[in-house]
């Protein structure tokens, strides 16, 4: 272990020397760190004056934490410069080959560069925050609590890891600095959105919600580090001199994986689909477990918390049931308002959305969206229980008939999406990131086209034409 650290430090030390001898990095960083807190302090003064004249206590109370978050973020933009330079820059300068020819292990090189990419901008970032806090402490404005500051420091650290790890992934995959810089927008734009989201959380006024951002960003950063480590290969850095897209090969690789050895559709269903399904065993178990947990937690939360906010006296419950009955009076003619194909399209689109979100987040966002949907189901059952219906009966009559098909399709597609994300962050011998993506996508489409689409089609027909009738039969009051 100590030897690993020593080797990582050896790589990092050389990078630090290089960085601190490069005035093009140090001078702008110093300027940013020393000037920006003063500008931010003056902006704070003007904002405070404005708020004092026109009101806005909530903003005033959270102004400093917000500025601290922004000030901490600016020096972090240098993480991209440093990290993008780290592999592709060395490749362009020809300095990477002697290093790659040495007995250094891939992870030592990767982690050494990651350490440098994070440390310098982070130190400058904290210095900048420190200067601002000293300046702002003289002003008559709510100073953030130590707890809030600690949260923002943690969040800034998570941002640094997120940006560096994603920039290094780009740096390893790109063949030129120009290409890497272009790809960097895929880091900058989402992080800018992330910052806006975190700003909303800060102005929300509840410090603890920042933990969601910290955990989320850290999880994503961790997955990116894992992705980088999994796909960092010497061969990748030296095997390609220019970026070429071999569309023929891409199509061939996808088609071969999708079709497999099958000659006919029935052969495909008999031979290939069972193989893919067997591979989904573990992700499917995880998805089912998460669905159970999500559904039960949501159901329990509704049962326990909604009565505190909602009038559930017998009179009001009767009112609610009447309202529900009125709204659902035409339930058996649902097909006239929502044709089955529209419902099918909606469900298929949601399943694809799980995949797309899963792809950009290695499964996590897709899984989150899936959990939100399951939580909604749990919540509806909880609400049904609160207004006096048996949740079990509602589930069996209102959900199960089409749910058997729909949930099976969604569970399988989500499990395939989870497997795609897991495959991307798992080291694969002799396969590039692009190859892995193609294989994973082909596997996902096998499930989607071969199983999910037929199941969703059946589910849509049942949901529109059978489920409403069953509800009418079992709940005559509706």
């Amino acid at each position: 272990m100590r030897s690993n650290f020593r080797t990582i430090w050896m790589v990092a030390r050389r990078e630090f020397i290089d960085q601190f001898r490069d005035w093009r990095i140090i001078v702008p960083m110093l300027l940013l760190v020393t000037l920006f807190p003063f500008i931010a302090d003056d902006t704070t003064r003007q904002a405070v004056n404005f708020m004092n004249r026109f009101g806005g206590d909530l903003i005033l109370d959270n102004l400093v934490p917000f500025v601290v978050l922004v000030i901490g973020f600016f020096p972090l933009s240098f993480t991209l410069v440093v990290a993008l330079e780290s592999f592709v820059g060395e490749k362009e300068r020809g300095t990477i080959e002697p290093l790659l020819s040495s007995p250094l292990e891939d992870r030592h090189m990767y982690l050494g560069k990651l350490l440098v990419g994070i440390t310098t901008p982070l130190v400058f970032s904290y210095i900048s925050i420190g200067i601002y806090l000293i300046l702002v402490s003289r002003r008559e404005v709510a100073f953030p609590s130590a707890y809030m500051l600690a949260l923002i420091f943690l969040l800034t650290f998570a941002h640094a890891v997120l940006m560096v790890s994603s920039a290094i992934v780009i740096s390893v995959q790109a063949t030129t600095i120009r290409a890497a810089n272009l790809l960097a927008s895929f880091v900058v734009v989402p992080v800018a959105f992330l910052l806006q989201g975190e700003t909303v959380l800060i102005f929300w006024g509840n410090e603890d919600v920042l933990w969601f951002a910290i955990v989320g960003v850290t999880l994503l950063a961790g997955l990116l580090v894992r992705l980088g480590l999994a796909h960092f290969r010497r061969e990748y850095l030296l095997g390609r001199e220019i970026d070429t897209i071999n569309l023929k090969w891409i199509w061939r690789a996808f088609r071969n994986r999708f079709i497999g050895d099958a000659k006919t559709i029935s052969e495909w269903y008999r031979m290939e689909i069972p193989v893919t399904l067997r591979q989904l065993r573990r992700p499917l178990l995880i998805v089912i477990a998460l669905a159970l947990v999500g559904g039960i937690v949501s159901y329990t939360w509704v049962i326990m918390n909604v009565p505190d906010y909602f009038d559930l006296t017998p009179d009001h419950v009767t009112e609610l049931r009447t309202l529900l009955a009125e709204n659902l009076s035409n339930l058996d003619r649902l097909g006239e308002r929502i044709p089955a194909p529209v419902l099918f399209y909606h469900n298929a689109r949601t399943t694809v959305a799980f995949l797309l979100l899963g792809l950009v987040s290695f499964g996590t966002l897709g899984l989150t969206l899936f959990m939100v949907n399951i939580a909604l189901v749990g919540g509806v059952l909880g609400a049904a229980s609160l207004v006096g219906y048996s949740p079990l009966a509602v589930f069996a009559v209102g959900l199960l008939p089409h749910g058997i098909f729909e949930l099976s399709a969604v569970f399988l597609a989500t499990a395939a999406m989870l497997k795609t994300g897991a495959q991307l962050v798992t080291p694969q011998a002799d396969k590039s990131l692009g190859e892995m993506l193609l294989i994973s996508l082909a596997d996902w489409f096998r499930i989607f086209i071969g199983i999910a689409i037929p199941l969703l089609a059946v589910a849509a027909i049942i949901e529109i034409y059978i489920t409403p009738r069953l509800i009418k039969i079992f709940f005559p009051v509706l």
Binding site: R14, D18, E97, P98, S101, R234, E235, L238, W249
Partner: protein, 312 residues
């Protein structure tokens, strides 16, 4: 020792950069790998350093398999890459010490090796200057010193004397020769045919990823240019008339004052031929082998490969 068999590398799923390369280089031997730019020399070297995995075939370097033991190979091989690959903001001594540490040398050994190499290559005075300030030749020498830092048993050198002045190039050649005599296995990729001729025990010519020819210089000359030619020069005009030549000798060229013979087995035939000429009172001034350079072998091989006529 380096052994390769059917070593091949495909890029982008349709381009064979190296195709079925089979070679053997013994310890104490130097192989010169010759070929045009893009012929596959660098890719071959990268496979031998376990940087690229072969698509087909295998290779063993210093007793280790390039796919199974990449780490051992990297520890035992010294590589001089096509570009010198120096970190421009590091001083010469920092650079060597860094790579010494990368190769796991103890601090004392690192110091002594870097001092020795800096001195050998005449870089001691520049040792504390950043390598960005070095001349091209100095950079190349520092890069070579890096490749030798861990005293490797196998050396793969890409253009070792490029950009060097004649004295420095000679210094480097001397060092390579010394390493050969200490039983190192050495592969040199070069466009400098005179250097290859001076240093190499074996030569391989690579074209579009395939080895067109390989062997010792004499073997290549014989295979490509035919039997050895000897030229007899006369003090004044000599009429050879209907000279009856021994078996295994062809008359390749004649002028008033010289004759050129193509001889299959010079050791057996030359004494007889010289005797024949002197008994015919030929005013013989000299009788010597016509020098045939590697350049001729290389250019003829390339011309044949491209299907164009070759003229010396």
């Amino acid at each position: 020792m380096i052994e390769t068999n059917d070593l091949s590398k495909q890029f982008n799923h349709d381009f064979w950069a190296v195709d079925a390369v089979t070679l053997t280089v013994q310890p104490g031997e130097i192989l010169a790998l010759l070929g045009q730019n893009g012929a596959g020399k660098t890719t071959t070297v990268r496979m031998l350093t376990a940087l690229l995995k072969p698509t087909r075939g295998w290779a063993r370097v210093g007793g280790y398999d390039i796919t199974k033991n990449p780490q051992e190979i990297r520890t035992n091989v010294g590589v001089l890459t096509e570009q010198h690959g120096l970190y421009m903001r590091m001083t010469g001594i920092e650079y060597l010490e860094f790579f010494g540490e990368v190769y796991g040398l103890e601090p004392k050994l690192r110091k002594s090796r870097s001092d020795y190499l800096l001195e050998y290559f005449g870089l001691t005075e520049a040792a504390h200057r950043r390598s960005g300030e070095y001349s091209k030749g100095m950079k190349q020498k520092l890069a070579l010193a890096r490749a030798l830092m861990h005293d490797p048993t196998v050396l793969l050198l890409d253009e070792p004397t490029s950009a060097m002045d004649p004295e420095s190039a000679q210094l480097v050649r001397n060092e390579i020769s010394r390493l050969r005599s200490s039983q190192r296995t050495i592969v040199i990729c070069t466009h400098n045919l005179a250097e290859a001729e001076a240093l190499a025990d074996k030569i391989a010519i690579i074209y579009r990823g395939k080895i067109l020819l390989s062997g010792t210089l004499d073997e290549l000359k014989r295979d490509v240019l035919g039997p050895v030619e000897y030229e007899a020069k006369f003090a004044n005009a000599f009429d050879a008339g209907d000279l009856e030549l021994p078996q295994g000798v062809d008359l390749a060229f004649r002028s008033e004052t010289s004759l050129r013979f193509r001889i299959e087995a010079p050791q057996a035939i030359n004494p007889k031929l010289v005797h024949m000429l002197t008994t015919r009172n030929a005013p013989l001034v000299s009788f010597q082998e016509v020098p045939r350079k590697l350049e001729h072998v290389y250019l003829k091989t390339m011309a044949d490969a491209q299907g164009v006529p070759y003229a010396v």
